[in-house]
Symmetry: C2
Subunit: 192 residues, 2 copies
DNA sequence: GCATTTAGTAGACCATAGTCTATTTACCAG
DNA sequence: CTGGTAAATAGACTATGGTCTACTAAATGC
């Protein structure tokens, strides 16, 4: 199997990549994506420039990996039929997501921006961030439909796009994400 | 009135700004936002660097103004109660918008990206692009509601956010905008 | 030990957005 | 005509993302 094969040459030092990710994450959280030059990450990680570009193509690539690796599962996904109504469950979920995004303060916006000028980055962003979250939402909506909380005629896929789109739209056009929006979205999906 | 007062000093040459906007628009359409250095715009316009930064703060500012000034009214806004059903009218409108965006090939994406790192630009983008379009959609949905095509309980504001959000979301996560999406969105808003 | 291969380091280098300085030009008030 | 003010031009300068080159270090196979 592939695990037995060892590539020739000096092996990568795992600590180098780890130091880069951790430095990037810390600095970006402290100062914001735009205010962290690559040089600062390198200095903080104590690593040479080339070591970054051996592993990632751009600063945005590095930050995305650091960000998503860390983000792991900070927010409990919505689950239908757990005592709460689907509507309330969706509202809870959105409020948690909004809190999380507020704490990241612009990191996600920066990454979405970076994705607009780099197709490969955009693809990765979609695979690692967009699609998993969309799948969760679709599953939740389909389950709510099965439980009769949502009219059967609705298309869960497009409802999921409405859901995510509505808050991306607010986020990217510089509007605050707050409880009112969570309530409005939940109401718009499940009916008032 | 204020029109009588003339500011001191040499007056701005209207041709300079016009040349910049027209050069920016043409080059960005030809080559894409990322592939047009500021120097190229300056050379094409036959104008000095400072003349650009006298008028706009960034390249994105200039391109946005050129873009929106030109975009004017390329797409007929949706109008309820004109023979077509609200659903069909919305689908038509979305298809026109998507065609227009396809022709611009990434300009809007670039501008949204630029807005993420510049609050002032973001504000202007919101005022000059987002809000007018949102207002049109809200008016259309409210009218459809008045005509009984849309249940009275729905909130036109959040429906408009769903509508725009859904295609921003697709656009920014690198998915194609096509007739299927227009149909799905129209179906999601008006019911299948 | 020696050759080969790839990782890591150091630092020069390039392209580009945006700032700053010096000089000239166009308009107004007196 | 002169002085003041701001626009236009030319071009140096800075900051930064990303590339390239030269050298050193750590692994493998002989």
């Amino acid at each position: 199997m592939a695990t037995g094969t060892v590539p020739p040459g000096r092996p990568r030092d795992e600590k180098v990549g780890a130091a880069l990710k951790s430095a990037a994450l810390r600095l970006v959280r402290e100062r914001g994506y735009q205010n962290v030059p690559v040089a600062a990450i390198l200095k903080e990680a104590g690593v040479a420039r080339q070591s970054l570009y051996n592993r990632w193509n751009t600063k945005a690539d590095l930050v995305m990996e650091a960000f998503f690796e860390d983000a792991g599962t900070r927010v409990a996904p919505p689950a239908a039929g757990q005592g709460r109504s689907g509507r309330d469950e969706l509202e809870r979920f959105l409020n948690e997501v909004f809190d999380h995004l507020a704490a990241e303060d612009g990191t996600l916006r920066s990454l979405i921006a970076a994705a607009q000028s780099d197709p490969e980055f955009c693809r990765m962003f979609r695979e690692r961030f967009v699609l998993p979250r969309e799948a969760l939402a679709v599953a939740f909506l389909a389950e709510a439909q099965r439980l009769g909380e949502l009219p059967a005629g609705r298309d869960p896929e497009i409802m999921a796009a409405f859901l995510h789109g509505a808050f991306w739209y607010r986020l990217l056009s510089g509007q605050p994400l707050g409880p009112e929006l969570a309530r409005a979205i939940a109401g718009g999906i499940f009916g008032p």
